[in-house]
Symmetry: C2
């Protein structure tokens, strides 16, 4: 217990553990702890169980590297998906977004990260070797690079394009342009510049 | 699993449980879950244990209503504190702030909430009766109302002042004024108005 501060040990430990969540500082952690203890102890116990179940029950899919309860995930096992196209994304959240577009029937590879040289995250940390193995399965014809259009995502896409070129597959990138449904007035200049460069006959 | 979205059940359950934290929406919950599973499974297990320990190991102190491992907390048991003054705060965080000021030697009562008529939180929800009992212990001479200087905190202070007047104790309120160390240019007009009204000889 800090000098003079009346914080019992289990509360201090809980606040400390909550600070391990991304974007959660000590004030937010304290507010979360008070909320759970005062208003939602059942939710706290449910979260405790969910954490244990998820850490214990999830692994990485051997084929796509996303989280899975089984050695190979349901998406990779699905015979109706087109095994000749592989979409490479940074996170399962990105994979969800592409699924939600209902515009893709191929398979995925989830990097679970991206190159970020400024943060010291290089090719050794992201582990691209399993992707190279995956692409060499003899069925993949095209790899769609769907990393983010951020500095890190672009760096990663550039690196992957170089790496995958040697595998003898077609490598493409998601199109850049003005977001569907958006007004030009509210689109940033860089996006407009890309949309102009990559304009197409209509 | 939602249609087409490849989210295994333990991951979905974890994201769902994280959404129970105050201020955490589905995107933040998903980011937290990925972070824990990918980068900090030990932290996830530690958080799970801390939640269980805190829910199971903490109760409300019988005297001050704050969280405690024992029936009466260390602060209330401390014989060096002045039992004739009772400071009423909304949360343990507020209690911590007052302790950290090193300007208070009395005891506390932690409401664990405040009146918020607009949110449907009335006197029945906050349970003021134990405070009234606490104040009638024959030792308390003064109650300092240290609820927040928000609409809800002021409403609560007003209500408590009315209630405690009947208990025959002196009821005071923290002073309002310009924050120590602040430049007037950056202080809001309402605070300046209060500081003028409550000006003192220097
Ligand atoms: Zn898979
Ligand atoms: Zn106490």
């Amino acid at each position: 217990m800090a000098a003079g501060l009346p914080e019992p040990e289990p509360l201090r430990a809980l606040i400390d553990a909550l600070r391990g969540l991304p974007g959660v500082g000590v004030r937010t952690a304290r507010r979360m702890a008070y909320h759970l203890l005062q208003h939602d102890p059942q939710g706290a116990l449910r979260l405790g169980d969910a954490l244990r179940d998820a850490v214990g029950g999830l692994r990485h899919c051997e084929r796509c590297n996303s989280f899975s309860q089984t050695p190979v995930c349901a998406t990779c096992e699905n015979p109706e998906r087109d095994a000749s196209v592989l979409c490479v994304v940074e996170t399962p959240a990105d994979q969800n977004m592409i699924e939600a577009s209902h515009g893709y029937q191929g398979l995925y590879y989830v990097l679970m990260g991206r190159l970020a040289p400024l943060e010291g995250v290089g090719p050794d940390q992201v582990r691209f070797a399993p992707l190279r193995e995956r692409v060499r399965d003899g069925r993949v014809r095209e790899v769609i690079l769907a990393t983010n259009f951020t500095a890190e995502g672009e760096t990663t896409a550039y690196y992957l394009a170089e790496m995958l070129r040697e595998c003898g597959v077609k490598v493409t990138r998601l199109a850049r342009g003005v977001p569907s449904g958006s007004e030009l007035e509210y689109v940033d200049a860089g996006t407009i510049a890309w949309a102009l460069m990559e304009r197409r006959p209509n």
